[in-house]
Symmetry: D2
Subunit: 384 residues, 4 copies
């Protein structure tokens, strides 16, 4: 074994990255089972991605609390047991030692920031003799932005950067540095990241795969499993109302309506696509600090059958976002690494199964996405 | 237009058949839209099944209340509007005139009863110059039975009947008469019907298609859409508890625990099949007369993610079983008729999409069943 | 019998007034039971309010659709049966003939409008030889307003009206006219109505009783029954999130955030009052046209017990606001009429049981409000 | 401080007693707040019950696992934090040292068993110089029993015991020994305990207070808060369906239908009493081991309003029974101790607030029970 694949988190001390790190270390140490790991499913494992044990985790963050501290806080919130954190204390401290201070918006010009990020990535790869490094963005969601010429074309972008301008949102700055450094990039948040046309062009030029965006972990996941039922049964959905209550850092960011716009946009995409028509109903995301890392979502679907009979379905989802997202970011890192090995470039549409707003096409129906994923894995796996 | 396909209901004055008859007449008269009709979905319509307008409905029943009376009662229960019943009064009376008195268990020997059913079917076909007649069982659910030699082999069965014995449960008696009369058979209830080995052999010998069993209209439908989500996301389902409250005649029959065994058996099949392991949790069906034709189901799924984090999902389904089942029995009649035209024989596994306990193989995952159905329709549609 | 008590609705063709009128006529005609009528409860009936049969209904409205038309529309939405509307057609037409065209804001000065309303009330009383007339506001909710000197003091108000000014919100204009005409007034909406200090003074001077405001019919009703459970059991409520989905005219009005402010204010009052501390959590009211007269509310309560153990409770309320409100407005008219007979003046705190924002004090705990109501009824009933 | 009131648990190492012991020790050590303690509510504290700090806990049990072990297991199930258990380890061990081996059914005659229990109680009191000892039964629920002459009359009972017979269910044997030893008795389970006529007579003769039975901690608690809403609003409840899922030892005992009969009987009592008529609908208690100490209850209430409009309400309660019950058993011990000081004898009807099946009368309406409790506390408190 011996780790040969680097996993570099943007937001390495956030809840998702911390839980993923605890999870990877626990699985490697034999202290946890691989529950929730899609890449260990036989139909996916056929692609021969690197194992969880093969991952070495590092990353950027701007908060000072150490990984062990963050893990203790999450244990206090019931995400995992405090005894596990204690058992992994040394490994977590070592992982924390691989976290570099991140860059922020508005300090210096972006060329320098890109330099710094690239240096950190190169240093990580060299220090640990890694074959490849996948960069995964799990940092705070950014608000939507408007396209400018520099964001629409990579040559324009290079010119602007060379001229000392700072045109990039932070998520895209990291994506730029990652791609320039030869690293596949995974956008687990709805932030612009690699989805700007200029960045997508850059990935194409570099011959690098990327995946995104916005991990599908809870309410939207269920929608993408349930909406096809209504569609194939020809039941007319009259309204679909969605209410999300969440605490934690994610909740706090989304309490800002400007930022929340990114999330409500990507959450709303799938329903219309699956049902084939717009659907009425509110979509709320509310910050309820008391809930901590836990999210409660309530959805109410009103539909009608033959002869206009009105019926309804409700569901309540009570999930721990970090515990749901953590195995997925490990899956994505492993599959993106494998995609790079297999010579794939551009948006990995086959990974749409993981995302609310899948880049690279493929629809939103969870069953269809699963088939696309497993077909791709079978193909990749056959390619030796 | 001019109807050329007969649809013969066993239980023709029950809630499902009455609603289906109102629905077919309303659609034909332009008084209702085809909501909930799977056979009108483009990917299914490609099979070119007969239209709803091409169906002529008749059937057997042992209750005396006329179809217009039964429809009024259902309108009173909110299944459809009373004004629709009034507008269709004459057409419903005509359909009621095509209902013959059914046979019952224990009166005379079964050879005579089969004769009578066959005569009624032949009379229906002749009187209306029908090209084909599909028989659909929507009568009261029977308890499970034990296999005997006469139920296990068609030659044994013929011998027993010839000897004046009465070995068949009622649903299978109807299936026997239908198949002997050259009619495809659809088992919409969990009663034994055509699923006994002797009956399946008979269908094979007659070169007739049949489909079953137990229409998947509500809680089990949702399970078959949701369970694949847990399976493909590798989330471990720890328990899945199901509570069904229903009134109406169906509820009354299921209040008898012996009869309910048929239903709880077929309801329980899918989950283990989809998840790949047995799942703990109660499955209750309770008769609450107050609910009338409406069913409320509440399910609670307890599952765990990475690091053992416990999470849960609940759903409440508030559906009108008759309004959900009615378009499906029309769909099944149309697709079984088309299957007969296309020369299909034996259990129609491609129609598993409609059933809790699909005969003919194919799994329980709703998405996979949809794919199997549409693949079959494309194949049948190409066969001119 | 013969009706001696007039019930005059502001908004007489709205959903609540129409349902109340249908209800009163149906009960009087022996076509419906007195379900949902608090005033028929033995502990309330002891006050000897006028019976439903003693009520004669009239009112103001600005919409043109007749009562029978409005009732048909409500029957179409499932509030009651169409056959009942047909049976009551003539009585509804007669009631419609007692509806006068209402006044609106911004046409002419308010003195004239008050004159017109007063004339209509006097005409109603005279034409039907009524002993008393109670005015009940069930018209569209108005946004909150800021107090001005004219709204704070009745003498200032009279001066302003005499000077041709138009200082009053419409609900208060009606209340002014009603009180000046010697009619008790019931504010069933959160509109300012009689709650402005100038109006409250006027009621005092006229020696007239009034009641309000904002009928407690659904989610807030439940809160007022459940919150005392948490309070008396010393369970710490950490957050209480409330989501209301409603269609209908009420929903449309509340889709305007300015108007909704009235409603969310009165809905939010009780919880803090009962629990004794502010409680976190969103309170949404969303307009979902598909739901028609029906409202679905989902609440999620997060609380903790001994040793900080986190627990939760959710409820879903699926109610028909018109059907819930209608008996209450009849109750209120009957009890306000009785209060006037008994010489009560000022805000009827004992009627807080009916309101989200009870005028006249008394707290929000439903059990306590019931006790206050029944104590008052016993007292009033003893006063012959 | 110095404890002067003994609290003796029957079932001292069960989940409820363990949580109560952890809770009392944590509060005394300043490591936890008094959340969920009714006796600390100002309107109850006026009775001047002994404080939590004044309680010394001991008890009987037949399981061997020590209190610290049991507390660790509960911490693993999320009832409280593992660090709290570690901080209280020594105190828990000391409490464990005060637990004596309990008696069981069928070993020797009951006179000897009563002797042994009495000796243990006397020893506890003497060793710690306690002013009084309250015995609280939180052991496993027993099935219902049939009354015999010996259970119906205390003199008959004494004769039978003297004759070497063993007529008593275990819960009543403990109650007998407690009362003979001068200890107030609290029946927190639905087991017969002190409710048999012979035992009630004994309490009367001994001049001792007792309270019971079956702690109202979850779904029944909510029913007793919600049902009065329907009753006072004159809404007709058509059906009320109740589903309880629970794991833990309590769930295992109740998986036995004979034992469960005790529980479903006491759970069903309140609804009919509050609504004034029988109510249709199933009441299930299912053992779902996966849920551990947690209980999920789902209730569905179908009701109608004016003009027969059908509406519904559902709720889901997700509670930790041990965390809910623990403060209540401390409350009950404190209030029963105070009642003894105040010279109260017989069933304490004023404590009905705490029970599903309140002994001593007083109804099931939670609001009314609260008033009865606080009235009693005010009276007791004034009695110096």
């Amino acid at each position: 074994m011996g780790a040969r694949t680097g996993l570099w988190f943007i937001g390495a001390r956030g809840s998702v990255a911390t839980t993923a790190t605890v999870g990877a270390l626990a699985v490697t140490a034999g202290l946890a089972q691989r529950v929730g790991c899609v890449a260990d499913h036989p139909e996916v494992a056929v692609a021969r991605p690197p194992g969880i044990e093969d991952l070495l985790i590092g990353g950027h963050d701007v908060v000072a609390d150490s990984l062990p501290k963050r893990a203790e806080a999450l244990a206090g919130g019931g995400v995992f047991g405090i005894d596990l954190v204690r058992a992994l204390h040394d490994a977590l401290s070592q992982a924390d030692g691989r976290i570099r201070h991140g860059v922020t918006v508005g300090e210096g010009n972006q060329r320098d920031a890109i330099e710094q990020v690239s240096r950190d990535l190169a240093g990580f790869r060299a220090a640990h003799a890694l074959d490849q490094v996948v960069v995964v963005d799990v940092s705070t969601t950014e608000p939507p932005i408007e396209l400018t010429p520099a964001l629409s074309d990579v040559d324009e972008l290079d010119r602007a950067l060379a001229a000392g301008e700072s045109p990039l949102p932070l998520s895209s700055l990291y994506a730029y540095a990652a791609l320039r450094s030869g690293c596949p990039f995974v956008a687990f948040t709805p932030s612009p990241g690699p989805r700007l046309p200029a960045l997508a062009q850059l990935a194409e030029r570099m011959g690098l795969p990327w995946a995104g965006s916005d991990g599908k972990t809870g309410e939207t996941l269920i929608k993408s499993a349930l909406a096809p039922m209504f569609a194939t049964r020809a039941l007319r959905v009259r309204s679909w109302s969605s209410h999300n209550l969440l605490g934690g850092g994610d909740g706090r960011a989304l309490a800002d309506p400007v930022t929340a716009a990114s999330k409500t946009q990507s959450k709303g995409l799938g329903l219309e696509s699956i049902l084939g028509h717009p659907v009425d109903g509110p979509l709320h995301i509310d910050y309820v600090p008391d809930l901590g890392e836990w999210k409660t979502a309530w959805d109410m679907v009103s539909f009608e059958g033959l002869l206009g009979t009105r019926m309804s379905m409700q569901f309540t989802w009570q999930g721990c976002d970090s515990a749901l997202a953590a195995p997925l970011v490990l899956d994505l890192a492993r599959l993106a690494a494998r995609a790079q090995q297999a010579g794939e470039a551009g948006p990995l549409g086959a990974l749409g199964f993981f995302f609310k707003d899948p880049a690279g096409g493929g629809g939103h129906d969870l069953g269809g996405q699963w088939r696309a994923l497993t077909d791709w894995c079978a193909r990749i796996g056959g390619d030796r």
